[in-house]
């Protein structure tokens, strides 16, 4: 079994990997508190699975995979859904500053979770349709239709000049 990293080594990796993973998480979830929870969970799972990770060089890719899978699993967990459906969400430590809320990110938050996930996975993480389908546990046809619907929704929210017709990324 590969030797696990020391606490200092893993802490250094966490600091290095955190910003990119956090941004992905925020795009997926649209909430700072949940994004922080998701990245923390992904990095903790990566640490816990060191038998498979084996080296710090591979840890970044592993953490990204875990983050995407974890986010997807969150979407289907009843308790998470119920909590999101309630008014009792944990408060965010990072309240919105209007100047820090670009229109595209605001529009992303208007999408249903799966549509938002499809956009983030395909246009931010640059996953293929097939990889996106695998990650989300649905068919490639569903990915395509969700992408189309999501882009139409973004187009309605932001205008054709921002999201033109034909931006299907297929």
């Amino acid at each position: 079994m590969p030797a696990p990293p020391t606490d200092d080594e893993y802490a250094a990796f966490v600091h290095a990997a955190w910003p990119r993973l956090y941004r992905t998480a925020y795009l997926l979830l649209g909430d700072h508190g949940l994004a922080e929870d998701l990245v923390q969970t992904a990095l903790a799972k990566t640490y816990a699975s060191w038998r498979n990770v084996r080296s710090l060089d591979a840890a970044g890719g592993y953490a990204r995979t875990v983050l995407l899978n974890t986010a997807t699993s969150w979407f289907r967990r009843p308790s998470w859904r119920r909590e999101l459906a309630s008014d009792a969400l944990p408060g965010s430590s990072y309240d919105a500053d209007p100047s820090d809320r670009p229109a595209l990110l605001d529009a992303l938050r208007e999408l249903a979770p799966r549509q938002r996930a499809v956009i983030v996975l395909r246009f931010y993480e640059d996953l293929s349709v097939a990889d996106t389908a695998t990650t989300l546990g649905c068919s490639t046809g569903t990915v395509k239709s969700q992408t189309s619907d999501a882009l139409a929704r973004l187009r309605a929210l932001l205008g054709d000049s921002v999201i033109p017709m034909g931006a299907t990324h297929d």
Partner: protein, 401 residues
């Protein structure tokens, strides 16, 4: 603008997102906790591998002393669980299987079966950490509500539908920990059992606890301990890995297997994944049933053990809208008999299922609750009117975190 531009725009906007500091220490602490949990799934995957055999051998070791603080007299005998002892909560309103409807202060977040009635936890969140507002109430079948007046804090307690006890752990004086069984009928402590063991893996304030028959199970760093609360004997539980949350029900424990990954990648992302969940006899560690579950990494059905430990519900993939309306892509879930391995499909709805204290599948509809025999599919209906507000909670589910 092209789709390439959309990607650029997303990256540019994402770069403007305020990123909080990385909580490295918290990640490490959580990682250690999960590492312990993952060990149990790997042990299940390798079956009777060398390491597993060695562990099983070592598990026969009696760890600790019978505690002189364990009290023998006045302890309750187990009774047959009340088939009508279930409950469905919506917000503050709780519909009992007896037909009574009661209200409790606050929103119901979790429910626990006891022989004295359903215990409900109310509070702001489903989880317990950082939330000091959780309160516990006991609802008897006649509709009486008793404030349990207990502030557990961030702990994971355990109950058994055949016993009137709430079991949990607290820091000990002469030992690392004490298992406490509190009688929900009186609020008094019925017995305490001292035990030792480092506990650093979990996020709770004390080792998480399950109660099943004469035994309580607690998860410490190097073992899942099986505590006979009647005699005070503390042993390592056979077959149960260390540092995990015990969820023993009806004497059985469900061990989930995680989808396989190698070198940070799912082995074949386009292929279906088959995992093997296992039901063990928690007292002996004996394998009772292996359940093969097929799906993708993200959509492998989620197994849930019934309140009597005799069935496993395989909940399917579900998706939700922004407004919280959720549906199952395939609204059918298989229920697997631990005894025979037979599977029976049931049509289920979003978060509207649970288990009765005696192990019948509960299916909640707007105007009724069906209590179904998981083997035959025969159901008995109880009328309810779910017209309140707030998310549903159906008893027999584990809403701990």
């Amino acid at each position: 603008m092209t789709d390439h531009d959309l990607s650029d725009l997303l990256h540019a906007d994402a770069d403007r997102v305020a990123v909080p500091p990385a909580p490295a220490a918290a990640v490490l602490a959580e990682g250690r906790r999960l590492r312990r949990r993952s060990h149990v799934t790997r042990a299940a995957a390798v079956g009777a591998g060398v390491a597993g055999m060695a562990a099983v051998t070592a598990l026969a070791l009696v760890l600790a002393h019978p505690s002189p603080t364990a009290k023998a007299p006045e302890l309750a005998v187990a009774v047959t669980p009340d088939p009508a002892g279930w409950a469905v909560a919506q917000g503050s309103t709780v519909h009992l299987g007896s037909g009574k409807v009661v209200d409790v202060p606050g929103t119901v977040k979790a429910m626990y079966y006891t022989s004295a009635g359903v215990m409900v936890r109310t509070g702001r969140t489903a989880y317990t950490e950082g939330d000091s507002t959780s309160n516990y109430f006991v609802l008897s079948g006649d509709g009486k509500v008793r404030d349990f007046s207990l502030s557990l804090g961030d702990k994971k307690p355990g109950t058994d539908p055949s016993l009137p006890y709430l079991a949990y752990s607290v820091k000990g004086d002469d030992s690392d920990w004490e298992l406490v069984l509190r009688d929900v009928r009186t609020g008094e402590v019925a017995t305490r059992v001292r035990y030792d063991g480092a506990f650093t893996w979990g996020g709770w304030n004390a080792p998480p606890t399950a109660l099943s028959g004469d035994f309580a199970y607690v998860g410490v760093d190097d073992a899942t301990l099986r505590i006979n609360w009647r005699t005070g004997t503390v042993e390592k539980a056979k077959g149960l890995s260390p540092s995990r949350m015990p969820t023993v029900m009806g004497g059985n424990e469900l061990v989930e297997e995680q989808p396989p990954v190698t070198n940070g990648k799912v082995q074949d992302e386009d292929a279906k994944v088959t995992v093997t969940d296992r039901v063990l006899d928690a007292e002996s560690g004996r394998l009772l049933r292996s359940i093969e579950v097929t799906g993708t990494v993200a959509s492998t059905p989620w197994p849930q053990l019934s309140a009597d430990g005799r069935h496993v519900l395989l909940t399917p993939w579900r998706m939700c809208t922004e407004g919280g309306d959720c549906t199952y892509e395939t609204p059918y879930a298989d229920v697997v008999s631990v005894t025979t391995g037979d599977r029976r499909p049931f049509r289920i709805g979003d978060g509207t299922f649970g288990w009765s204290p005696d192990g019948r599948l509960l299916l909640v509809h707007d105007t009724k609750v069906d209590s179904c025999d998981a083997d035959t599919g025969e159901c008995v209906s109880t009328p309810v009117t779910l017209d309140g507000t707030g998310p549903l909670r159906v008893s027999g589910n584990d809403n701990e975190s």
